[in-house]
């Protein structure tokens, strides 16, 4: 037992519901938007100035997938320790509420909203992480809940409380 890589990481026992992490700030530049869009979302309003001006959004806007990728990056970077993650299971209720325009500065919080032991896998717990990504005007641009597996440090303890 015991994974030498994750032994000092944050385990299930180290987390609590209500725990909130500030995600810091990321400026989403035009170059970042175009680079990401050329790889994953080459729609005109992400890469072409003229087309972007004429679109519903009125200017170069980031792909929603880029906002999500940056959100995950900021969460990993700003968590007070490395999570002993055993992989993501699902993402629910993802909403792209507003476009992220070139040079917007995004930040926000991630909050632990659920922690429970996995019934059939004593070595794992389930953690729900609620992302609330905001722009520099404090407007919500994206929300989502990431349901992730996390290693339990002492699998033999506390299974009776699993629900």
């Amino acid at each position: 037992m015991g994974n030498p890589v994750t032994k000092d990481f944050l385990h299930f026992e180290d987390l609590h519901v209500g725990q909130q992490v500030d995600l810091g700030k990321t400026k989403v530049t035009k170059t970042m938007i175009k680079t990401f869009a050329l790889e994953f979302d080459p729609l005109p309003f992400h890469i072409d100035e003229k087309a972007a001006k004429a679109s519903l959004l009125g200017g170069i806007a980031a792909s929603g997938y880029q906002t999500g990728a940056i959100a995950i990056k900021m969460a990993l970077k700003n968590f007070p320790g490395t999570l002993a993650s055993a992989g993501g299971m699902s993402i629910t209720d993802l909403k792209w509420k507003r476009p992220v325009m070139a040079n917007d500065i995004i930040g926000g919080t991630v909050t632990i909203t659920l922690l429970k032991r996995a019934r059939s896998k004593p070595q794992w717990g389930i953690v729900n992480l609620d992302f609330d990504i905001k722009n520099q005007k404090n407007q919500s641009v994206m929300i989502m809940t990431l349901n992730n597996l996390i290693d339990v440090r002492n699998p033999e303890i506390g299974m009776e409380a699993a629900s």
Binding site: P4, V5, D41, K73, A86, G87
Partner: protein
């Protein structure tokens, strides 16, 4: 979808194509966006329950989106070449659920398929409809690795706005009104 909102039916589907993930690309994406040891370090990843490096679920989603954009683009070009006017797709307001069923590993070839599950007129954007679709991704062994239940805007071809809607659509173009409406 390259059709107009009115012409799209439940169960309409579109093969989005296949993509083979390389270890190099998986590492490159994850070093930038999902820097966890089982995503970035082939040696350390052996200690994880995955037993090796795997792609980020979000990367799998991004690749599916890219394939969808490409497929729509090529269908649109084909329609234009035949003298037809393709429908207009808009941005996505969100994803109800995205599930990562199986790990995607280096050299896995993933096929994506989109199926429309339902549609309705948008309540917030006159002249636009909302399409609800499911994207399912399958690996070379036929195992389902990923599913995404995504919503997207689709423009109506035959939309005749009411007087009130016409005023609202006109007003939204003027910054002062836009500000008032957003309140």
């Amino acid at each position: 979808m390259t059709m107009w909102f009115e012409d799209i039916n439940d169960d309409d589907s579109m093969e989005l194509g296949q993509y083979c993930f390389t270890q190099e690309e998986i590492i490159k994406y994850n070093k930038e966006y999902d820097n966890q040891y089982f995503h970035t370090d082939p040696e350390l990843a052996k200690h994880s329950h995955f037993g090796g490096i795997i792609a980020s679920g979000w990367h799998t989603a991004c690749v599916g989106h890219r394939l969808m954009v490409d497929e729509i683009k090529s269908r649109e070009e084909a329609m234009v070449a035949e003298g037809m006017i393709p429908g207009v797709s808009g941005p996505s307001p969100g994803i109800k659920k995205m599930t990562f069923m199986q790990a995607v590993r280096p050299e896995d070839c993933i096929s994506y398929k989109l199926t429309v599950t339902s549609k309705r007129a948008s309540a917030s954007l006159p002249g636009w409809g909302l399409l609800f679709s499911t994207i399912i991704a399958t690996n070379q062994k036929g195992e389902q690795v990923f599913q995404s239940d995504v919503a997207s805007f689709s423009k109506m071809r035959d939309f005749k706005p009411t007087l009130k809607q016409r005023f609202a659509m006109w007003a939204v173009k003027i910054p002062l009104f836009k500000r008032l409406i957003k309140r």
